[in-house]
């Protein structure tokens, strides 16, 4: 939709999976923030998020936004990466019917979408099942 600067700006933290950890109470924020909503501290340290986690919930998208129509059906879920910290991403490389809550996944870097207008390809993380 013609929005360019946003994605350029968000890339580095997406690539490096960099989050902010509150120096006072330890709560983790991704993307980083200026103030902790738990303890109101404004001091953070940069941490790298772990590359593995578990599925808290998920769904299979069968009616997709314009930029994702070619991918249908695809699974997407909320992945808990740290105790009390979760974020959203696609779950790839598996039969959507086999995904379950509590399943272990690891993060990989993949193409996420291509911008319809500009044709820019955007990259980010996806979750893939850990073979047990």
């Amino acid at each position: 939709m013609g929005i360019t600067a946003r994605n350029w700006r968000e890339y580095p933290q997406r690539y490096r999976l960099e989050a902010a950890k509150c120096s006072q109470c330890g709560k983790v924020f991704f993307p980083p923030r200026l103030i902790c909503n738990q303890c109101k501290s404004r001091k953070f340290e940069t941490i790298k998020l772990p590359g593995e986690g578990t599925v808290k919930t998920f769904t299979v998208i069968r009616v997709a936004p314009t930029n994702f129509i070619d991918e249908v059906p695809y699974a997407i879920g909320i992945i808990e990466l740290l105790e009390g910290f979760s974020t959203m991403m696609q779950i790839a490389d598996c039969d959507p019917e086999k995904i379950s809550i509590g399943m272990k996944v690891k993060l990989e870097f993949r193409k996420i979408q291509s911008d319809g207008e500009a044709g820019v390809i955007m990259y980010g993380y996806k979750a893939v099942p850990v073979s047990e």
């Binding site: 946003r6 919930t57 769904t59 299979v60 997709a64 314009t66 997407i76 909320i78 696609q90 996420i112």
Partner: protein, 387 residues
Amino acid sequence: MRDVAIIGIGMNEKWGELWDKSIRTIFTEAALNAMDDCNVDHIDSMYIGCMSGGLFVGQEHLGSMLADNLGADFIPATRVESACASGGLAFRQAFMDVASGMSEIVLAGGVEKMLDVDGGAATYALSTAADQEYECFHGVTFPGLYAMIANAHMAKYGTTRKQLAHVSVKNHMNGSKNHRAQFPFKTTLEEVVNSVMVADPLTIMDCSPVTDGAAAVILCPLDLAKKKFANKPIIKVIGSGHATDSIALHDRKDLTWLSAVELSGKRALKMAGKKIADINVCEVHDCFTIAEICVTEALGIFEPGMGGPSVESGITNIGGKIPVNTSGGLKSKGHPVGATGIAQIIEITEQLRGISGDRQVNGAKVGMTQNMGGSGGSSVCHILEVN
């Protein structure tokens, strides 16, 4: 703060695909109907709930355009936005305007023209209620977000696919008696479960539709209502509550719990001096079937996890102990996002006036509305009582 009353209500004759009418026309229709309902020929100020004039019709600055088209020259007119809770929030600001003593006769309206753009553009516009960079970037849709809530709720509480379907069946049954509804047909559990899958486990019959529509109500001080507008039952606004939560679903500790709904409800009840058990009829935000289940739990109507079994039991039917979404809800009546919160106020006002016909809840004296933004990032509740 002054006591405030609702004296006029109005909607379009029918919601749905209003191809031949522009946003300015559908809003003006609803606003004139509300003014006619109470026979006022002017308003002092106006609030308009609209989620995205920019993305749906390429038109912001709706306060100016819509006051102009209503012939309400030079009045203060304010557009208010909180995604799908924009209408409820416009009502709240109008309430404050009257309660503060700033204005006497105030119109609270809502409008959304969603069908001027194609489906892809509409999906994009709606997605701007979620976190663009950390939710939508990954390809999630609104049905997808609520589907994730549904799966979490099913895993935690054993809520069933059939219980979700009961919400749709009940709301279509109610909507079949509402001539303004976009989809006034009845449906069955089988039809809901076997419809086209949108985002597992939600089918198209778990989802509210895309709709063109507008709604408006007129507020004034209670004293003025008693003096000049007593030819109809006077409906008092006794509670207003508004709360926000994280915009991203994944930032919430319990994915099945809507804290903004809980808090907006508690705040409204506290102002009203009521308990949830005092509510006789309720309009809540059933943008998806799972939403109605979660909302009835967050408001405290049912215990956590009991939303599903409760709708299954029929307790939320018209004639049940606590009827929910007698209008047909967003599911059957339609969901023009900015207008929905105002239409909820209209349904409760009609119930408390006792003019709901086949949908009437007998003896309804106190009613509640709950209007949600996004996946629960905001919520607005109001409590109305017949004088």
